[in-house]
């Protein structure tokens, strides 16, 4: 299905957030997830079902001031 990941349109096979992270090779990295501006706690990643058109943000720590 078509979703937007970090602002880019992508075709993905994954149905859940957990599966998406492994599909995109983020598994085991320190990230936070928002889907359609809703932040999903890690405890929900295995069960959170993605749907076509979702806007997914995969966020990581970065230098800042």
């Amino acid at each position: 299905m078509q979703v937007t990941v970090n602002g880019e349109q992508r075709e993905i096979a994954a149905q859940t957030v957990d599966a998406l992270l492994s599909e995109l090779a983020y598994e085991g990295t320190h990230v936070a997830i928002a889907v359609n501006f809703e932040v999903l706690p890690k405890s929900q990643w295995a069960d959170a079902i993605l749907k076509s058109g979702d806007e997914i943000e995969i966020i990581t720590p970065r230098q800042g001031g």
Binding site: N6, G7, L24, A25, Y26, T29, H30, V31, A32, I33, A34, F37, E38, V39, P41, K42, E57, I58, I59, T60, P61, R62, Q63, G64, G65
Partner: protein, 260 residues
């Protein structure tokens, strides 16, 4: 000691983690600064990248308190969602809240800031709002539940130091129970000392250290300046006056009788 939401710190210097020449220099500069609170940001991870992980392990090695920020956010929804992502990512209720009105000046959007602060405080956050020196805005932030307020000295990265001293003094006088931090616009250790001399509880800076020719040495200079400024404030500065006042006694001046 300075208090941020019930936690006490001996260092009054909060420092950013961006723009250093290398990760090693960042770590060395933060250590040299004596800072116990460092601010970090969040960004989109590039596909498969591990840059975030690498940066995060450098920060954890420093054993400091992390203050995540919403740097660059340009709307209330964006800032609130970023704050919630930061809470997940860093496991803290602290957030340095930035809502930016204008990309060229990085002027805070104070209306959006008050709204975002209210939303986040109701959700259990402890908010460090980056704001202008306007007293009315600061009072609105306090009404919303902020116990820390962080007015700018001058625009972010401008290195101009305190451009509106009278307004910052007014904030200090009117908000005696609020932890006040000068955030942004500091370019030199003397600027930081000035903020502490005005009774500000702390300063937050980044570029002045990171972009110095020798960031580690500059971090040390800022540490000393902040300590000097605070000591001066506690010692009680003399009042300024418009005309001269002799420091040497006038009585007994030689040849005094010859002067008409």
């Amino acid at each position: 000691m300075v208090n941020f939401y019930g936690k006490s710190f001996s260092s009054r210097l909060l420092i950013g983690t961006a723009l250093y020449p290398s990760p090693k220099i960042m770590q060395d500069a933060i250590r040299a600064s004596g800072s116990q609170i460092v601010t970090v940001s969040l960004r989109r991870e590039t596909a498969g990248g591990r840059t975030g992980d690498a940066f995060w392990s450098l920060i954890r090695e420093l054993d400091v308190t992390v203050l995540p920020n919403t740097a660059g956010c340009r709307g209330v929804r964006e800032a609130v969602t970023t704050a919630k992502l930061a809470r997940e990512l860093f496991g803290t209720h602290w957030i340095k809240l930035e809502v930016i009105a204008d990309n060229d000046t990085l002027q805070p959007d104070v209306v959006g800031l008050v709204e975002a602060a209210s939303i986040l405080i109701k959700d259990g956050f402890e908010v460090f709002p980056y704001c202008t020196e306007d007293l009315g805005v600061a009072m609105r932030l306090v009404d919303a539940g902020c116990r820390v307020v962080m007015p700018w000295a001058a625009p972010i990265g401008s290195a101009k130091g305190i451009t509106n001293r009278d307004a910052l003094r007014l904030l200090r006088a009117r908000l005696p129970d609020i932890t006040l931090v000068v955030d942004a616009g500091i370019g030199a250790p003397s600027h930081a000392a000035h903020a502490l001399e005005l009774g500000y509880d702390a300063v937050l800076l980044n570029t002045a250290v990171a972009k110095a020719a020798d960031p580690v040495a500059m971090a040390g200079a800022f540490k000393l300046a902040v300590e000097a400024g605070r000591s001066a404030y506690e010692a009680g500065l003399m009042e300024t006056r418009d005309f001269a006042s002799p420091s040497t006694p006038v009585v007994g001046t030689p040849f005094w009788h010859a002067v008409s």
